[in-house]
Amino acid sequence: MPSTTQTSTTARDKGGAAPTAPPRSHPSRRRRPDRWLAWGFLAPVTVYLIAFYAYPLYRNVELSLRAYTVRSFVQGGAPFAGLDNYRTVLTDPAFGPTLTHTVVFTAASLAFQFTIGMALALFFHQHFPLSRTLRALILVPWLLPLIVSASTWSWLLNSDSGLVNAALGVVGIDGVNWLTSPGWSLTSVIIANVWIGIPFNLVVLYSGLQAIPTEMYEASALDGASGWQRFWGITFPLLRPVSLITLLLGLIYTLKVFDIIWIMTKGGPTGSSATLATWSYRLGFGNLLPEFGPGAAIGNLLIVLALIAGLVYIRIDRRQHLR
């Protein structure tokens, strides 16, 4: 078997002018025709991205800039309305509370998912009998269809017959109307969302822990560092890059969350658990008379938030690769 270096410098192409290609680089870099041929393999996905990502996004922007009625939605010819839909949304009395709910939902979900995920990752990192199997089992909530998780939690949190209220009753606390009282609905959907998000945090943080060389721990153990000191002195700093990425991905995912809230509370009662995502859906599909314009406008605001988070993620990710 020829060594990597040999093969990559063997001139198989016409030019043969091998630039300073490091071993394991891509030899095709040297052949111009091939590089364009590569687009033959990329053509399907490119066409796909334009037709099924760019075009729906464009349609969505267009929806938000026109005054659509049901009739003009079907037949076309809605008048251009400029930023009217955005103005409608931003001046809506529901805008402030909905934005607050989105922020609270996202922040609380991230904080609990991450903390619990981290604790579990640290725990499972100490290998013990069955640790692999148990770690795999904990993935289940993340893999279940969201409608399954959401309806299970709906029943667990049911006011009259839910297990949670029954358990509270045993310790002498009065039952809470988890899903039907404005004061608790947001908390309820956060609880369900945290449960769903823990496995993702666990798996990613665990993979980060595995990348930390064990010698570092052995050295600090020799120095007599306690477990707590080891966590703050070694694990936490070394895990910072992975933690940052976990949190940012979590942020992007959580901003998108729609299914859980819609299935459990429909954003209610009286909008008390509505986020930007559920509000947008309600305007577009939740009422008898759809308001696609404002719905699309909210969607576009949401996408701006997600993209800002996304760009921050990519920036941090790139910077870490450069190191």
Partner: protein, 274 residues
């Protein structure tokens, strides 16, 4: 490190408790699916299904089979289309270094971040004009958007690991790029194809937002809508709802049992690329 066996088993005990806590809602779903209607509102609730019933599962067989069938077909369609689109793209990005390739990877990364509700609204407007609302191909196409960017990134990551020697050997033997892709790259990429297929199937199987916006009014409704209608219509029959939920969870369970290592690979590959 020195861990005495007894201490290790103590940790296993804690691990079992933690896992039990995390999975308790899943157990509860199964428990309720076997509970009789008259026991449903018992105080305190029955922790194990004493006098269990199969009524819930009978309801699934009677009412939910068409939904399950639709979900299965949509899942297969999504897998086929996703792999067909993403595998060649991954090969090109990993091995052929096309001009503008990194820009495309960037677009794919961004595409993953677009909230589903926005895609749904755009698709709805387009499908209404084209008249493909409430059709299987329409739903399949929309569901592939859940998986294609992820799939391309996975394929790119995995195919970067294929030794260049292997591909060059094929070229020496006179194979063109297409031939190389088909007879060398695809066969050695079996793991990544499995990973991508599993996730594409699971995501399309679990999809609710596209189903409810693009297929909510037609004959081809997937299982997620089957459950959703149940919750909306007969709030009393929770054993039927939970039995449907259990059945709808089977793909996730199968995936975890048969392909545990691919699942972890998929989860981390999305976040920690190398």
């Amino acid at each position: 490190m020195t861990t005495s066996p007894s201490r290790a088993w103590w940790k296993t005990g804690v691990g079992l408790v933690l896992t039990g806590l995390m999975l308790f809602p899943v157990y509860w779903m199964i428990n309720v699916s076997f509970t009789r209607d008259q026991d449903m509102r018992a105080t305190p609730p029955h922790l194990i299904p004493i006098n269990g019933t199969l009524d819930g599962y009978r309801a699934v067989l009677d009412q939910q089979l068409p939904y399950l069938g639709t979900s299965f077909l949509v899942g297969l369609g999504t897998v086929a289309l996703t792999v067909a689109l993403a595998a060649p793209a991954g090969y090109a990005l990993a091995k052929l270094r096309p001009p503008g390739g990194s820009a495309l990877s960037f677009v794919l990364l961004i595409a993953q971040m677009i909230p589903g509700i926005i895609m749904a609204m755009g698709f709805y407007a387009i499908y209404l004009t084209l008249g493909v609302l409430n059709t299987l191909p329409g739903l399949i196409l929309a569901d592939t958007t859940l998986a294609v960017p992820f799939a391309v990134l996975i394929f790119t990551a995995f195919m970067s690991g294929i030794p260049d020697e292997l591909l060059q050997a094929a070229v020496v033997d006179g194979a063109g790029r297409l031939r190389t892709f088909w007879s060398v790259v695809l066969p050695v990429s079996r793991n990544s194809i499995v990973t991508v297929s599993l996730f594409a199937f699971l995501w399309s199987w679990s999809d609710f937002i596209f189903a409810s916006t693009l297929a909510g009014g037609g004959d081809h409704q997937p299982i997620t809508l089957g459950i959703y209608h149940y919750i909306g219509n007969n709030n009393q029959q929770w054993n039927a709802i939970m039995a449907t939920a259990v059945v709808a969870s089977i793909p996730a369970a199968v995936l975890l049992i048969l392909a545990q290592r691919y699942v972890s690979m998929g989860v981390t590959a999305g976040a920690v690329k190398d």
